[in-house]
Amino acid sequence: MNKFLGILILGLTVSRPMLGQKNETQKAATDVDPLALQIVKAATDPLKEAKAYSFRALVSRDLLGTNDQIITTFSTSQVTVQRPNKLHIKFRGRGEPVELFYDGSGKAVLYSPSTKFYTTLSTPTSIDACLADMSKKGVNIAVRNFLESDPYASLTDGLTTAYAVGKVDVFDEKVYHLAFTEPGAEWQLWVVGGDNPRVKRLEVIDKDKPHNPRIAVDFFDWDFNPAPSEDMFTFSKPADAHEIEMLKLTAER
């Protein structure tokens, strides 16, 4: 029994600094402006409630160069989601265009139509778990928060601060400018108001990585009433398509 208590005390001693950090974080987490959350909710609840939706995203992503400086890369994603668990994305960026098929059946397929190379990823059947799983396999989708089953919760869980900066003009359009921090990251959101609130732009700064790389996403062409065909989400392998492997990951964050 004494030995058991000893181990218990040792465990608490080891974990105490971490508990302290957690408490400090929790204290800081009190500075959340409900107005900022209300605007996020207004813009993201339509994504949760829609049977299907689509949008186009222009993504710029900072990477580190071999000389340690920031190098910015660009890509576009044409996204179609069908609730509860179907997803199709057309990626255009470096190299050949690639399509992602996910029909909730336990696998996702990446396919390059121009080369007819595809790879199959075994994934969970829920869209949230699938997105998390794909991220672990190196398929990082910058708009992931907006694809999950509850985008509002996905964005606001674990916030440290949330502020409504103000109503500003972004390229001649009136938008609400919001600013957030969370452990390891700070991010901003620009939201178009009115009868049909929608997200206009997202910027995320990763505070955990050297040089604090940034991901910026501009959203276009929101459609909350698309009519995707069923075969849009299921990969139909052409007869002359070749299956290839995923490149082994280097150390990830």
Partner: protein
């Protein structure tokens, strides 16, 4: 056993991170960055040595410049030496078109002259592409090499195998199959 469980429980409770959820994962692949013009100079030196062995070339200074231009392309292959960073890095399309040194001026004339005086080291440099390097697109003039069900490309005796790296189709330099 009970002791181990108690210890692990305490550590787990204390260490549980409070991560935020906004997406910021980007992988650790680095972009190869290098001064192309520095390479230009180093190859110019090589050419001078080559010309020094042939007295005729000493009288045709223009040739030296032509050779320098040609070596810009060769250098792009050397550039793949970014693989020294552990094969972690990808390399962008290095076709600089009209911005390549000398590309816009006197191409037809200088190319003909260069063909006659092309340095022997060109082939050697091309073959120094580092196995494990990754590129987003293949260079021109590649042929498919049959290797069972695996697709491999032979691009001037440099072999590339297609992979997916995240949502990007890439080609990794591999050894001869």
């Amino acid at each position: 056993m009970r002791n181990i469980i108690a210890f692990l429980l305490m550590v787990a409770i204390g260490c549980q991170p409070l991560y935020g959820r906004v997406e910021r994962a980007g992988g650790n692949n680095r972009v190869a960055v290098q001064n192309h013009s520095n390479n230009l100079n180093s190859n110019a030196n090589v050419n001078r040595n080559y010309n020094a062995n042939t007295n005729v070339n000493r009288n045709v200074n223009v040739n030296q410049n032509v050779n320098v231009n040609r070596n810009v392309n060769v250098n792009n292959n050397v550039y793949v030496h970014g693989g020294y960073y552990g094969g972690c890095c990808y390399h962008e399309d290095n076709d600089w078109g009209a911005f390549a040194a000398g590309a816009a001026v006197g191409v037809a004339t200088t190319a003909a002259v260069a063909a006659a005086t092309r340095p022997k080291q060109t082939t050697v440099v091309t073959n120094t592409v580092v196995v494990g390097s990754v590129v987003p697109s293949l260079p021109g003039g590649c042929a498919t090499v049959a290797n069972g069900s695996v697709v491999i490309y032979n691009c001037s005796n440099v072999y590339y195998k297609p992979f997916y790296q995240g949502s990007t189709l890439v080609y990794q330099v591999v050894t001869y199959p």
